[in-house]
Symmetry: C2
Subunit: 343 residues, 2 copies
DNA sequence: GTTAGCACTCTTTTGCTATGAGTGCTAACC
DNA sequence: GGTTAGCACTCATAGCAAAAGAGTGCTAAC
C-alpha cells in the first residue's frame, strides 16, 4: 500500500511523537511539530484515512491517535530516516565492547550488558552456534587422585572444560588409554555426531577397559553437548520496569520469558536476514505481544553464527536504536573472529 | 522490652494476618482470628499501646494497624513459631539442590534459582570465599600455536581456567620454563599473596625470559584474583514484580541493586551469625529499605564460607521461609564439602 | 482539495455526599 | 483495675453529577 507523501509525513510524525512522549497525538500537536502549511482540519482528515487504513488507532474518541503495529511496520520499512550513526556514538559502542583476551561468552555477556545500559532495554545475545564445529583437541588435566579436568577445544574456538571423577585411582596407563580413545574416536568428529548411539558402540568396543573409561567418555560427550548448545546472555532485565506501563500486564511474563534461554534462542535464530525487527504480535511468542525486538546477526569468518538483540516496548526508538544494534553486532562479530583466529 | 502475653498474641496475629493479606488489620478481624475471649474494645486498647510502643502503626486514622519494622523484629525474635520443616518440603528442597558432578558455581546457581522459585522471592548466593586458599596446582594446556589454556586449582577446590596468548610460537622449552616458575614461585602460595608487587619481583628475577613469560605469569595472577573473588549467583529477579506494590518506588532500584555483585556480597558477608534476618531499614542499603533479607551461611569442612539468601518485601513469610533457607543452605554446604573432598 | 466552524463524544478533574471501617474515649460493669 | 458497651469522631473510598478540556467528524464555504 502506497501512501501519499503527506500521509507519510504525518504518519512518521505521529510515530515519532508517540515514541518520544507515550501520549496519543492530536491534530494540533501535530501541526506544530510538522513544517507543513495546512490546517489542523486537513490533518484530521488525513489521520482519519490513516486510521481507516489500519496504521493509526484511537484509544478512545476524544483522544489523539497512536500508531498500530502496522503503523510502526510501515514507518520502519519506509519512513524511518536511516541517518548514519553519530561518530561519538560509534566511539561509545567501540569502547563498550572492547575486551581483550576474553572468551566468546564473556564478550557477549559484556556486549549484552552494555547494550542494555545504552538503550534502556533488555538485551540478549546468543553464543556462536556449534552446529558445524568439530572436535579439535581434548586434554586431560589431573587435579586429584581420582578426579581430573577434561578440556575440549572445538574448531570454532569454543573451549569447554569439566571436572570428572573416576571410581578408581588414576594412573598413567589409564590416562594413556584415554588419550588413545580420544585420538582414535573423537578428534575431528563433528560435535553433533556424538550421540548416545555412538557412545554405546564406542564403549562396547573398549572391552575390559570400558568400566574405568566410562566417566571420561561420558564427560567428553557432555562437553560436546555443551559446546554445541548456544547459550543466551542476558542484560538489563531491570529496564523492563522502565517501560512498565507500555508492557502492561505482560511485564511479568516478559521478565519470566527472559529467564528461559530456549525460547530466546529460537526467537533470535528465527530470521536469516542480516538484521530484523519484529513488532508486537509479529513475534510468535505471546509474552512479547507488547514488545518489539531489534536483532542483528554476527558473522565469524563470514559465517552467520549468532545474534544480538534488544527487547523493548513497541514504541521503542527504532530509528536510532537499529543502527546502534547493527553496528555493535558487527563489531562483536569482528572481535569474535579475531579472537578465534588468533589461536 | 517485655510484652504481656496477650500483647504478644495480638502482635503475632497482626503480623501474620498482614503478611498473608497485605491489608491493615482491624480489631474486629483480629477478634475472629484470635481464640481469645475479650471484646474488640480491649483489643483496641492493646493495639493502641502496641502502637505507642512502636510495634504497630496506622496508615491513616480509619484504617487498621500494620506492623512496623520493630514489630516484625519483635515477631521474628520472640514470637515466631519455629515449627520444624515439613518432611515434604524437606524432600522438595533436597530434590532442588541435588546436582551431581557440578562445579560450586553451578551448584549455587541452581540453588539460587530453585530457592527463588520456591519462595517467590529474589534469591542470591555467594561462591565460597577464596580468602584462605592456596594454589594447589597449575597446568598448561596448549590449544594453538600461540595460545594455551592455564588451569588453576586451589586448595578449596575452585578450578579456574583462562586462555592466554603468547607473542611468539609456543615450544616445549617455554612450557618447561613456565612449569619451573610455577613450581618455584606459585605452588602453595596463598591466593592473596599474589599482588602486583610480588609479580614484579618475580618478573625481575626472570631476567632474559621475562619477556616471553609475562603473558603466562600475568594470566596466573588474573586467575588467582578470579579464584579469590566471590561471585554472586542470582535467581528470580522477576519475582520482584510479584510484590511490586510492597516495594513501591524502590522496585526499580532493587532490581538494579541485584545486578551489581559487589553490594550483594557485602550484604551477605555482613553478618557472622549462622543465619540472619535483616528487616527493612536494618539493611545498610537504601535500595533495600522496603525489603527484608533472610540469609544463612554455609560451611565447607566446618568453615564458614559463603551465603545464601532471599530478598523479599518486609511482609515476607518469615516463619516458614527462615527454616527453608536454613535447611537449603545446610544442604548446599554439605554438597559443596562433599564435592570438594571427592577430589 | 482545503479550511473554518461547530456540534459531539468521551476522558479527566473536581466537588460533594454518603458509606463504612476502624478508632479513641467515656462511663458503667464485674 | 481490668473489661466492655456505646458512641462520637476521623478519614479513606465509592458514587455521582457537573464542568472542563482535548480531540474528533462533519458540513458548508472558500
Amino acid at each position: 500500500m502506497e501512501l501519499s507523501q503527506r500521509k507519510e509525513k504525518i504518519l512518521a510524525a505521529v510515530v515519532e511523537h508517540y515514541i518520544k512522549t507515550g501520549e496519543p497525538v492530536g491534530s494540533k500537536t501535530l501541526l506544530s511539530a510538522l513544517d507543513i502549511t495546512v490546517s489542523s482540519a486537513t490533518i484530521r482528515n488525513e489521520m482519519a484515512e490513516l486510521a481507516a487504513l489500519g496504521y493509526l488507532e484511537q484509544p478512545h474518541t476524544s483522544a489523539g491517535r497512536i500508531p498500530t503495529n502496522e503503523g510502526y511496520r510501515y514507518y520502519v520499512d519506509n519512513l524511518m530516516g536511516v541517518r548514519p550513526l553519530d561518530e561519538s556514538v560509534k566511539r561509545q559502542i567501540e569502547a563498550g565492547v572492547s575486551l581483550k583476551n576474553a572468551s566468546p561468552e564473556a564478550i557477549l555477556a559484556k556486549a549484552s550488558e552494555f547494550l542494555a545500559d545504552m538503550t534502556d532495554c533488555a538485551a540478549v545475545s546468543t553464543t556462536p552456534s556449534g552446529e558445524n564445529a568439530t572436535i579439535k583437541r581434548i586434554e586431560f588435566v589431573p587435579v586429584g587422585t581420582r578426579t581430573g579436568m577434561i578440556v575440549l577445544l572445538t574448531s570454532t574456538g569454543v573451549i569447554k572444560s569439566k571436572v570428572c571423577r573416576s571410581d578408581v585411582d588414576l594412573n598413567s596407563s589409564m590416562i594413556e588409554k584415554f588419550y588413545n580413545i580420544v585420538k582414535s574416536s573423537f578428534l575431528g568428529l563433528p560435535l553433533d555426531d556424538i550421540d548416545t548411539a555412538t557412545l554405546q558402540t564406542l564403549v562396547a568396543s573398549m572391552g575390559a577397559d570400558a568400566l574405568t573409561m566410562i566417566p571420561f567418555v561420558s564427560a567428553v560427550s557432555e562437553l560436546a553437548q555443551e559446546a554445541m548448545r548456544t547459550m543466551v546472555m542476558l542484560g538489563g532485565q531491570s529496564n523492563i520496569l522502565r517501560y512498565r506501563e507500555d508492557y502492561g500486564t505482560t511485564a511479568y511474563e516478559l521478565m519470566d520469558f527472559l529467564r528461559r534461554g530456549e525460547p530466546i534462542s529460537q526467537l533470535l535464530a528465527n530470521s536469516k536476514e542480516d538484521f530484523d525487527v519484529k513488532i508486537g504480535g509479529e513475534n510468535k511468542f505471546k509474552q512479547l505481544e507488547n514488545s518489539s525486538v531489534i536483532m542483528a546477526h554476527y558473522n565469524i569468518d563470514g559465517d552467520n553464527r549468532g545474534s544480538i538483540g534488544i527487547i523493548g516496548p513497541t514504541r521503542i526508538d527504532y530509528a536510532s536504536l537499529i543502527p546502534s544494534v547493527r553496528y555493535l553486532t558487527d563489531l562483536v562479530g569482528e572481535l569474535l573472529t579475531q579472537t578465534l583466529n588468533e589461536g
